[in-house]
């Protein structure tokens, strides 16, 4: 697929796909083995940039969820909980190493299955996933140091439901702390991106984990619901939409299940007139167009101080014009394919609403591939606080720009949302940074940077962006009775 761009004329640099190994059909991973169900209820995992079917995935039945939970319970009461923390950690270290060894294969499959640029899956998703496993492996025998005056105990069986935007990374975020703390896991990947979770199950098998410590069931929302509502699940960990998060919180209200929710966001990215503008422009682009904007912490609301608005928007448009949209497998690609037809329709609908609400609309005139699901990087300026694209989580490459004059005004506007996952601020003045970062109601605040992640760095939201943290020491308590 050729890339055409008026600023850059780069030759195609496609990553090869010949080295990966995918089965035609995947069963569910229960009690240490892949089981091909007898019901034959399967669905296709499709490459969103070509429409090509990559593999058939099992739509798990409630019987399979039962089996997975039973296997996890047996593993929890058996070998896994009797094992010392040091040995538990060594399994995780092994898994981290295996993932590093096969990182290229995982990156390619991630980009094929989810549509994200190979540059991101290669440089962000896979290495960070391995780093998470490596980080939490080391906690397994050090838990008593994390909680002064306490003797933490694992919860039991953790049901974990993850989204399609960072399929492997989210699996690692969920599995690593759960196993390090001595729990066992039933994991459900999103239906459009099951492949790397299933490949991870193969690694878990290869690493020699005791059977049942990690189980992977695939399918749609009803499979997730079966996990959430299962009587023998002690803990629910969910990453996804706020809407589903509320349903989960309600569904388990009558139980003693523990819960962590990592939900939607509508982050404010705030640029002051004393910021380093070129760097801010890079941060804005990274903030909203990274991973096609399929990022819960995306900087989707840009607040620009009035005096630099015109200059900044001109630079931003220029930079948007250099973004290469297209084949995720091309190493030059900046913005890949939208994850699914359904998500593309949602984004396009928001863009239509945005136009009707009457803001100024801009997209670079880059060429898009003929097949697959694509959306150009999109910019709305002159947006009103009440506009839907300033309020709702679009989960696509759509940026809404507002202006402000004073610190008080922008803090009020930035916090005026039910969400509170992340925020960004750009200024060269230190005291202003700390004023902003301490006043913004968000779980992660990036100052003079954006969209960075690290296993040692706790991630999670305030308000309707959910509760609990993933990453760092603070990510442990979600899986422990303290």
């Amino acid at each position: 697929m050729t890339q055409k761009n008026k600023h850059w004329n780069l030759s195609p640099a496609p990553e090869s796909t010949g080295h990966i190994s995918l089965k035609e059909r995947y069963g569910v991973f229960i009690d240490g083995e892949f089981r091909m169900p007898d019901h034959g209820n399967v669905f296709s995992s499709v490459n969103p940039s070509t429409g090509e079917v990559l593999a058939e995935i099992t739509e798990s039945s409630s019987a399979e969820v039962d089996q997975a939970v039973a296997a996890a319970r047996a593993a929890f009461t058996g070998e896994w909980s009797k094992m010392g923390g040091g040995e538990r950690g060594k399994y995780l270290y092994r898994l981290a190493r295996l993932l590093q060894e096969k990182s290229r294969e995982f990156a390619v499959i991630e980009s094929l299955d989810g549509g994200k640029p190979i540059r991101e899956s290669r440089d962000v998703d896979v290495p960070l996933a391995a780093a998470h496993l490596f980080y939490y492996a080391g906690w397994a025998d050090k838990l008593s140091y994390a909680f002064p005056n306490r003797s933490p105990r694992p919860l039991g069986v953790a049901g974990q439901i993850i989204p399609w935007n960072f399929p492997l990374l989210m699996a690692a975020w969920k599995i690593a702390p759960a196993l390090a703390t001595g729990n066992t896991v039933v994991l459900k990947p999103a239906e459009t991106t099951s492949l790397t979770a299933l490949k991870l199950a193969e690694l878990i098998q290869e690493a020699g984990f005791p059977p049942g410590v990690v189980n992977v069931v695939t399918g749609h929302g009803n499979v997730g619901a079966a996990i959430v509502n299962h009587n023998d699940v002690d803990k629910v960990a969910f990453t996804g939409s706020t809407e589903v998060g509320k349903m989960i919180q309600k569904a388990i209200a009558g139980t003693n299940k523990r819960c962590t929710l990592e939900l939607g966001g509508k982050a404010a990215n705030i640029v002051f007139d004393d910021a380093a503008i070129d760097q801010a422009v890079e941060g804005i682009v990274n903030g909203i167009y990274f991973n096609q904007g399929h990022v819960c912490c995306a900087g989707s609301r840009l607040f620009v101080q009035e005096s630099i608005h015109d200059e900044l928007i001109e630079k931003l448009k220029h930079r948007m014009g250099t973004l290469i949209v297209g084949d995720p497998m091309d190493k030059n690609t900046d913005v890949g394919a939208i994850n699914s037809q359904e998500q593309l329709a949602t984004i396009e609908q928001y863009i239509e609403v945005g136009k009707q609400e009457g803001a100024e609309f801009y997209q670079p005139d880059c060429e898009l591939p003929q097949v697959g699901f694509w959306c150009r990087p999109t910019l709305f300026t002159d947006v009103a606080q009440s506009n839907r694209r300033a309020q709702e989580d679009i989960f696509g490459p759509v940026l809404a720009v507002q202006t402000f004059r004073t610190v008080a005004e922008v803090i009020q506007k930035a916090n005026n949302t039910p969400y509170g996952l992340s925020a960004g601020v750009w200024t060269d003045k230190g005291s202003k940074i700390f004023n902003m970062t301490s006043q913004m109601k968000a779980g992660v605040v990036w100052a003079n940077t954006y969209n960075l992640f690290d296993p040692t760095s706790p991630f999670g939201g305030f308000k309707e962006s959910g509760f609990g943290r993933e990453g760092g020491l603070h990510g442990l308590s979600a899986y422990l009775e303290i």
Binding site: Q249, G254, T437, L452, P458, F462, G472, H474, I482
Partner: protein
């Protein structure tokens, strides 16, 4: 002394008294003031066959007024220095100490035996001092500088969750109340407290302590009334960030958690004997805090690893 004498004598029409005792009106505490319920309704809690008096029966509107007061006070309270919050919590303990006899007698009226009442008052005072001490220390225990694998300074600190609705212990009217209010406000949260429906007197009198302790109006708001009437109103209130429930029946906890899901409130359920010292700990402060993580690049002039 008049108040204490009246408390001592109430419920048994004292024939010996030469003068007519002055009975106390038990009002609510909202925004630093002592209003009656806007609904003008009352109820009469009865302990051991005798009425505790006419107590305000809070309405939905009272809940909403109290949440507005708590929200308005929250930013200012959380911006106080930790040292200042510590001194104010200590001041509450000082004021409580000075009125310990009144609290003991009131606890006896509400059904506790004399010895337990005195222990609970002492423990309540000590608990305030315990949490006063934590105000400028929990942050150092629970915060972290995170060694990220890039050129960034990255740290995580605790921030107050915001407005906390607190359903106080039914059977432990003073110690249970203090044991939840103190950790909730220590970090900069504000709260609306629903007093024990059965034994509301200590909560109201505690409000008088708060009002004379440099606690800014609106930081603690105290309502009296019926939990079943108010459950839906506070659990669904969109400007409440968290709910703390102590010793409720399971069905009520479920109802609260279901309503709470409408705006992802954090709900913490407690069932504990607050006279056990171990129930006082900084993890209770952490229960009503959010972790905020902040990133900033560290310049590396001579290297290629530009960190923006």
């Amino acid at each position: 002394m008049t108040v204490e004498e009246s408390n001592k004598n109430s419920g048994e029409n004292s024939a010996k008294s030469e003068r007519l005792e002055v009975l106390k009106t038990y009002k609510m505490y909202i925004d630093g003031k002592f209003p009656r319920t806007e609904s003008a309704r009352y109820y009469q809690p009865v302990v051991n066959g005798s009425s505790l008096g006419n107590v305000c029966l809070a309405s939905r509107k009272d809940v909403r007024n109290a949440v507005v007061a708590a929200r308005s006070a929250q930013a200012g309270w959380s911006r106080r220095t930790a040292y200042n919050r510590a001194q104010i919590l200590y001041r509450i303990a000082e004021m409580l100490e000075g009125r310990s006899q009144q609290f003991s007698e009131e606890l006896v009226r509400q059904g506790l035996d004399v010895e337990t009442a005195e222990i609970h008052v002492s423990q309540s005072i000590d608990r305030l001092i315990y949490y006063a001490g934590w105000c400028d220390k929990y942050q150092q225990v629970f915060s972290a500088v995170n060694p990220v694998a890039s050129s960034h300074f990255n740290f995580s600190t605790l921030e107050p969750v915001g407005v906390v609705f607190t359903v106080a212990s039914r059977d432990c009217p003073l110690l249970g109340l203090v044991s939840l209010i103190a950790p909730v406000i220590a970090s900069g949260n504000t709260c609306v407290v629903l007093a024990s429906e059965k034994c509301p007197l200590s909560a109201v009198t505690f409000a008088e302590v708060l009002a004379t302790s440099d606690v800014p109006g609106g930081v603690v708001n105290i309502l009296t009334g019926r939990i079943k009437e108010l459950t839906e109103h506070f659990s669904r209130h969109l400007d409440v960030n968290a709910i703390a429930c102590d010793g409720l029946e399971p069905g009520l906890n479920t109802e609260i958690k279901e309503f709470a899901s409408e705006n992802i409130k954090r709900v913490k359920i407690y069932h504990q004997d607050w006279s056990t010292e171990a129930t006082a700990n900084p993890y209770l402060i952490q229960d009503f805090c959010e972790v905020k993580t902040t990133w900033h690049p560290i310049e590396q002039i001579s290297e290629s690893g530009a960190a923006y």
